[in-house]
Each structure stands twice: as structure tokens, then as C-alpha cells.
Symmetry: C2
Subunit: 418 residues, 2 copies
């Protein structure tokens, strides 16, 4: 097995994923982690708790690939059946694992609670399986050899899955194969449509290219992702950088950020590195800019605060926008955006402030200002210590309220990074 690429499939288990609208994020996380090790993930399968469906899915995956990472169905309730079904696939009985039970009891003790009897189910394992300890929750995982595949079964709760993945799966997968190193890069782009960008980058995106180049689109943000493979991580990184250097002039002013981190994290690090503080004055984005930044630990050093000024009265009262400006130009105007940003910068005593005011839709559009019209302003200190505001307008395609708001937030990040 050590001389070739390991293949893998990812399996997410639970009726709530198949029938009740809960979105599977585990597969994507697991695949990215395995991909960074050079393991070729070929497929995700999401299946409910029905024993027959689940048995066929586990059996099929374990016949196709070298490594199968499953998550979900390890809870204490009767609709959690992964343990039994894996035992069936293995044609083995379940055994009660005393060590696992002691771990479950210890978790409850640490949290000042008593373990309900139903949690005893969580200490059962297929006969030949090995328990995987869970330091952050009650459900131990397990590992077993099924057909010719190494099957890892992890809890479905993303936070717990990630801890068990790091503690148990990563080291084991590293041992399973002598894996060919990979490196990744990502260029963030705002401006063109996905098709136009794809046409411009066509010659980089041919099947088999190394690094492989792909484009993903989310809320108007286009991400150009590179994955290089070579004999060393440094050589793979060099391949990525070589192609990135060819891409930069093609992307031109569309390119506004680079790196594998999410864009709000890049913004936060940039501002923290410059020891600059920021405030937001949000109308059409309604708190999204602040919410995405405050999702990140450490944001309190950079973010002074924000005002969500949905009504005109709020723009006047809380941000000091002159009523005359609102009357003369309307709430969605560069003049009002500039006054909102200046007001936020002064009231929060921040180094800079960003304002958004626009028409997110579906209602509120006009011929002159159709849905998707968003005005922005960035207020900064000028050399005499008072406030300079720079305002601009973007006509965002009306692809729905969420798209317009998301795209407006990306525009805010871009203005802070350029």
C-alpha cells in the first residue's frame, strides 16, 4: 500500500442530514484534511439511520477504497444505529467496552452531572473494533478493518469529530501510506462572473495539470484554488507559487487577497498587524460585517463596535447623518454612506470605519437605484486628525437578498485589503 496513492471515501450518517435539512459539513472538512496529506478522496456519501441503507453504504465504501471515514449515529438515542450496523457488516456481535464506559462516566463527572443509563449504549463496540477516545464529548469513536479498508467511525457533532480526527485518524492515515506531499494556495477574486474567469484561466485548468487549478464561487466571491503534488512539501509549494505568479497578471485588479485563511481572518490579521481599530455603520448588511469579524477570537482588539442603522432615524440619531443629506440624496447614496462612516469613526473613536447602505431586495428597488445598488464609504483619519471619507457604489447583480448582502460584505473586506 505504501507505493501508491491512498484512496478514501467519507460517509456522513443521520436521518437529520438526509431528511431534516441539517447540512453535512463534516465530509468537506475531512476531505480537505485528507487532501492536504495527499489522500485522494473520491466520494462523500450521506445516508440516514435506516439499517439496510446504512449497511449497503458502509459495505460499498469499504469495498471501493483504502480508508473510510464515517461520522454520526453514535449518540445515546435509539435512532443511533451505526455501532450495530458496522457489527452486522463485520458479522460480529457487539461487546461492552468497560474503558469506554469509564470515559463516558468521567465526562459526566467533569461536567457535574450523572450519566443517564441510555449512555451505556455509547460504550458498545463491534467485537474486533478498537475504541477511539473522545476528550470533548460522551461518544467514543472506533476503528475496524472492514473488507480491505480501514474504517474509522467518529461522532457526528462537528466539534467532537474534529478532535477525534486530529487525535486518531490523522496519525493513523500518515502511518498507512507513505504519502506524496501536497501544497495548496488560494487567490480571492471579486469582479468577473465564474464563466468569464473560467475562460481566462482555461489553460491552467486542464485535467491532470499540476498544480490542479479550480474555481469556486460563493456569494460573488470567486476563489481560485491550487493543489500541487511533488516529492517534498517545499517542492509542491514551489509549484503552486510558480503558477500563482503566472495567474496574478491575468487576474489583475480582480485579485484582492491570497492565502488559505478565510477572508475575514486575513482582514483581522491585517488590521491587528497595523494596530488599527475599526467600526462599522451597516444598513443593508444589517450586522453581517460585525458578526463575521466577531466570529473570530481576538476580534475585540480590533473591532470597536458598530451601528446597525436600518431606519433613517437611526442614521440621524446614532451616526449624526444630517437629515438634509438624506432628503437631498436618499438613504442609498454615496453622500449618506460617507456621513455614516465618518459618524461611526468618530463615535467609536476608531482608526477607520466602513459604511454600507443599499437595496438588498426583493423590495425597494427603482429604475435609478435597482435592487443590488450598494453604496460604501471608508472613513480614515487625515493628516490633521479629522476624518476623510471615500465613497463608491457597486451595482451587484440581483441574484437574491442573501447574494446581494454577501457580495456587499466581500466588497467591504476588499476595500480593507487593497
Amino acid at each position: 500500500m505504501s507505493s501508491r496513492t491512498l484512496t478514501a471515501e467519507v460517509l456522513s450518517i443521520g436521518d437529520e442530514l438526509v431528511h431534516a435539512g441539517l447540512i453535512d459539513t463534516n465530509s468537506s472538512y475531512i476531505s480537505q484534511q485528507l487532501g492536504a496529506l495527499g489522500v485522494a478522496v473520491q466520494r462523500f456519501t450521506v445516508v440516514g439511520d435506516d439499517p439496510d441503507d446504512l449497511q449497503e453504504a458502509i459495505d460499498g465504501a469499504c469495498r471501493r477504497v483504502d480508508v473510510v471515514i464515517a461520522s454520526g449515529g453514535l449518540g445515546p438515542t435509539l435512532d443511533d444505529r451505526t455501532r450495530e450496523v458496522v457489527a452486522q457488516v463485520l458479522q460480529e456481535p457487539l461487546r461492552f467496552d468497560e474503558d469506554s464506559w469509564q470515559q463516558v462516566l468521567a465526562w459526566f463527572t467533569r461536567h457535574g452531572r450523572t450519566a443517564p443509563d441510555s449512555n451505556r449504549r455509547q460504550a458498545e463496540l463491534p467485537q474486533s473494533a478498537t475504541s477511539l477516545s473522545n476528550s470533548v464529548g460522551t461518544a467514543p469513536g472506533f476503528r475496524a478493518l472492514v473488507h480491505s479498508a480501514e474504517l474509522f467511525v467518529l461522532p457526528g457533532v462537528p466539534r467532537e469529530m474534529k478532535v477525534l480526527f486530529a487525535d486518531h485518524v490523522l496519525p493513523a492515515v500518515r502511518r498507512l501510506g507513505s504519502l506524496r506531499p501536497t501544497a495548496q494556495a488560494c487567490l480571492r477574486v471579486l469582479g468577473p462572473s465564474e464563466a468569464l474567469l473560467g475562460e481566462r484561466l482555461g489553460k491552467f485548468m486542464l485535467a491532470g495539470a499540476n498544480p490542479a487549478v479550480g474555481i469556486t464561487a460563493s456569494g460573488g466571491l470567486l476563489s481560485v484554488r491550487l493543489v500541487g503534488t511533488a516529492d517534498s512539501e517545499a517542492a509542491a509549494a514551489a509549484l503552486c507559487e510558480q503558477t500563482a505568479a503566472e495567474l496574478r497578471p491575468v487576474l489583475g485588479e480582480w485579485l484582492f487577497a491570497e492565502g488559505l485563511k478565510e477572508v475575514p481572518e486575513i482582514v483581522l490579521e491585517r488590521l491587528a498587524g497595523q494596530q488599527r481599530t475599526i467600526a462599522f455603520a451597516e444598513s443593508c448588511t444589517g450586522g453581517l460585517c460585525a458578526a463575521r469579524l466577531t466570529d473570530l477570537s481576538g476580534s475585540s482588539k480590533v473591532l470597536q463596535g458598530g451601528v446597525i442603522a436600518y431606519s433613517n432615524a437611526a442614521k440621524v440619531e446614532l451616526l449624526g447623518v444630517p437629515e438634509s443629506l438624506l432628503e437631498a440624496h436618499g438613504a442609498v447614496s454615496e453622500q449618506v454612506a460617507a456621513a455614516m462612516a465618518a459618524g461611526a469613526r468618530e463615535r467609536f473613536s476608531a482608526d477607520c470605519a466602513i459604511a454600507t447602505t443599499g437595496i438588498a431586495g426583493p423590495a425597494g428597488g427603482s429604475d435609478e437605484k435597482p435592487v443590488g445598488t450598494v453604496c460604501f464609504a471608508l472613513a480614515t483619519a487625515n493628516s490633521s486628525g479629522s476624518t476623510d471619507s471615500r465613497a463608491w457604489t457597486v451595482r451587484i447583480p440581483d441574484l437574491g437578498r442573501r447574494f446581494v448582502r454577501d457580495r456587499a460584505v466581500h466588497e467591504v473586506w476588499r476595500s480593507l485589503l487593497l
Copy 2:
């Protein structure tokens, strides 16, 4: 086929889903839509653009079930290969569909642009396939009989997928089977752990129960979902209501909302129905409450605005919290929460206001106020027209920054619904 339950699988296609961290939301949407028709979705598969992997996934799904809904890989770029691969599975050539091409050209004309030549790929179809028109984007879908399954192939962009699903798939699936009607219900619960709730509801959750009862957990919010099946939609709804009536006394004060809508939507409708306006004063939730409410069209009638008061200075300057309160009790205190809510209500001239102040972590906890301590206040008008504030504290389990923030937002919604 008309006398039994139709079975279905959902297939999402694209390297960006398998390798690049983009999350598949299409499968969940499609499954819920099919589930409401009584079609039993057995599995989702997510597969990349590699022709061999894709061919095996399409072939396998079309051998297992009656209906396969695939999305993705219909774009204009060279890494979009779904059309070719379906033709291979069918052992057919591709044909150029002039009608589809005219639709692509018309879309570009409507948007004041010229179609790049690469878009011609989007008008190619397997020989025996039927084109499915796309009124909101450039990629037409198609439909073909593969083995014994009806295969529908839709664009991957969620907005376009949803339109083609409604226009083409729903009517066709209704014709394919005489489907047994279902009804759904959902009870929202805050308080117990998932295991404790599962134990209390164990007797309702046995395999084969009608309605089927399942529990899902997200950010501390537990959702008890019921799916009933009967000879008429009304009878299925009556089954759900009968079980819901048994569940309510078991859930007691944990239960705070009912219905299939998302909780922020229920909150918005409640406030709109009461003609009440609201404002937010957010510290630890950092704009999340406002962002989730403003995601909804019509929120401007209810939401006056909000202040994100991350720093103490912002609490004093923008919300009028007395400095003496901050010094005496600290920023995370019921006293400060009450003053923040009262300040927001008055400054935004809102009927009510909610404040949050707490320790989201990972830093900032102490023995007295550990990470997860969140103080809330609800300010309303009293009979004399001035402000009454009610404050309370919740110790949220420290399951990470996002969990604490999400759970705090759910607590806000609960306080507005009870």
C-alpha cells in the same frame, strides 16, 4: 411504479465540493422537497469531476433507485464534465441542441452581454436526453432514462437548481408515482442536552413509528421533527398533531417555538403581527442577532437598528450605560445588560430592545464568570411610557466560541417568543 413508494438518490457533482471546502446544500434542499411529496430519499452522494468516479456514481445510483436528481458540472468551463459522463453511461454521443443554445444567447442578451464561445458547451446534451430550460441562468438542465431510473441533471448553483427543480422535477415526479401524502411538524427546544431529551422522548422515537420522531441539535438548539404518513395530507397532519399534543407536556418549559419555519422567521412574524419594533444592543453576539433578522425580507418593518457595543467606551457613548455600573459590576453583568437594553430602546425609539453581554471565549473567563456566562436583558415600555428592563444570566456550556454565540442568539429568540 404507481402502487409503491418511489425511491430516490441525490447526487452533487464538483471538485469544489469534494476537495475545496464548498459545502453541498443542494442535496438537503432536494431531499426535503422530495420528502414532502412522500418520495423516500435513501442517499446523497457527493463526487468530484473526475470522469471515472463520476461515471461509477451515476451508474450506481441509477441502478439502485427510481429517481436520481443530480446537480453540478454543467458550467461552461473544461472541468465541467457531467454532460459527457452521462452520455458515456448511456453509451451515446453528445448532440448540439439548438434550442438550448438560443436560450443561452437570450440570457446573455437580457443581461446586456455577449455569450463567450465557451458557453456553446452548455448547449450539448446526450443524444436521448431532453433539455430542461433555465430561466435564471445560462446552464440548461436535462433529463434522461438511465437503466430503469429517471435521471434529472440540474445546474449546481443553488439559486438556479431550485428554479429548475420547481419548474421541471416536481411536476415530473408527481406524475411518476401516486405518492402517499406526508405532513411534517417541528418543536424547538432549549435547555436539555440531546441525550437527556432523547431519553425523555425514547418511546416516541422507535423505528417504524408514525409519525417518525427525530431530534437534531445545532448550536444548543434542539429540534424535534415529526414526519407523518397517511392516505391524505390532512390525515398525516392530524397524526403529527396528535403526537405533538403528547410531546408538549413532556417538553414543558423547554419548548419555546413550533412550526416548520426557521426560528428568526417565527420571531419576525410574531413581532410584525403585534406591530412591535425592536432594537438590539449586542456585545458578545457581535451583530449576529441583527444579521440573522435582516437576512429576512421584511425585517426593516420590525428592526429599528442595533448597536454592537464591543468596547466599554461604546457601551457608555452609544448606549448611555453609566460608567459607575461598569466599574461596580463589570461589563458582563445583569445591571449592565439592563442598561444596554434600556439605552438601545430609547435611542432607536423601539417598542422593545434586547441586550447581550457575555464571555464567548476562548479568552476572558474567570472563576466567578467562566467562558459561556452570558447576561441578557429585555427592555419594554411600562404603563407610564418609560422603560422596564428584565435581566437574566445563562451559563452556556463552553463548547467553543461559535457554540456560545449561537446559543446566546437562540436564547434571545426564546425570550421574544415566550
